[in-house]
Subunit: 231 residues, 2 copies
DNA sequence: AAGTGGTCTAGACCACGTC
DNA sequence: ACGTGGTCTAGACCACTTT
């Protein structure tokens, strides 16, 4: 006798419902996939797909041999899309432009040097300003590891932003990102056309290709702007 | 003749490699799943799993009938985990505590009223301070829609934080989140024990259960703190 | 050693979107 | 109407963890 062709979404919704109604409270051990499949009238793979989805959202914890449990602390995992600034601005219907403020090859300061895994080598230092509808939007301060990214010294960052160039020329396998707030220093404030000391949102990213550091960048948003996402 | 048992990860890596080497440039149309499966020597489902993974990361665009294309603008999708503040602090080895500063039932100001989809109804207003190792860490200013969340008026937010209570009592299906930077106002600055006007990172979230608004909250981080994630 | 999730295969049918 | 991705099933084997 064939089973009843449940969809994996319907299995996921049923499991989520049982968690929300308290039938399976925080920390509870769920039946194993095979038993759930029999109960829900579907193939085990379908249950697997549903539970995997909930685990990716942070709602379940799964371990081989131990089984599947309701997460103790439901830290929702949110998908956050890192936008290309040009696309983000154009999506708002505003004209995008960008200006190269500085291009230099020199030894980076110690914290950057450590992040880029460089010894005494020089790195490529780029500062640029992204504009939205003619107004300063984001000040970008970037260091690039030239040993990881070949040909980066030949790139012309006055016509294409470093971000866009790297996206299509430098593979990356992992990264770190942080948000913070600072009072703008002299350089950033001048670029953005605001007073020194103004509060601004900072987004820092560091990326690697395998174990080789690619770039670290700090984006300073003009006052009044924010970074948004939905989940 | 059985196929060669490729893993979906190896298929994903091979596809990613072909994109990075420029074999499949931005916007290019990939062969259909069936053809790729034959070429890579595996089942179509395995190719499907690999391509789905790359699509979730924002590297591919997939449409039925149209096929699979390399994304024009590779906006990496990053997974961001919304932490429970208590867990985040305890993970750093510091003592967590929290203080309820204000609990009030009153009509919210217009922007909050609109966000919570309320007419002239009152809402629950909670202000609290989260401490890390005895020092102010985050000032939380939250409004809760009492029509969406039954029994919320009975909750004792002096012993459990509103965040943790909601996590286990109020289902949510979608949300929005934003990061910004502000100069702290009088209330937040006093709670955090810093000067009015200090720059601080703000994380705002709004959540819904289906089409019913649940809560909106603003978290003000004490100066020097940041929100981090890796991808 | 044994239990549980992770994945693969082959074949089938469905659903969506374009023509 | 047709082409492509989306998903389901049944069965098998593998891989990680804990006992």
């Amino acid at each position: 006798m064939p089973r009843e062709n449940q969809t994996w979404q319907s299995v996921r919704d049923e499991v989520r419902k049982r968690i929300q109604t308290g039938l399976w409270p925080m920390g509870a051990l769920l039946p194993k996939e095979e038993d759930l499949a029999i109960e829900m009238g579907c193939a085990r793979v379908t249950v697997n797909r549903a539970l995997r989805d909930l685990a990716e959202q942070g709602i379940l914890d799964r371990k081989r041999k131990s089984g599947t449990r309701v997460a103790e602390f439901p830290s929702r995992n949110v998908k956050f899309s890192i936008p290309v600034l040009r696309k983000e601005i154009e999506a708002l219907g505003r004209a995008y432009s960008h200006t190269l403020l500085l291009r230099d090859v020199c030894p980076p300061p110690p914290p950057i040097r450590a992040a880029l895994q460089l010894d005494d080598t020089a790195a490529l230092h780029i500062q640029s300003l992204h504009m939205s509808g003619g107004h300063p939007f984001v000040f970008e301060d970037r260091w690039i590891n030239p040993t990881t990214v070949p040909h980066v010294m030949d790139a012309d960052f006055s016509s294409i932003s470093a971000n866009e160039w790297l996206v299509s020329h430098a593979p990356l396998t992992r990264g770190e990102m942080s948000f913070s707030a600072v009072s703008l220093d002299h350089v950033a404030a001048e670029a953005l056309g605001v007073q020194v000391g103004t509060s601004a949102l900072i987004n820092e990213r560091r990326t690697w290709d395998g174990d080789r550091a690619v770039t670290c960048v700090s984006l300073s948003y003009a006052p009044g702007h924010s970074v948004r996402t939905s989940f």
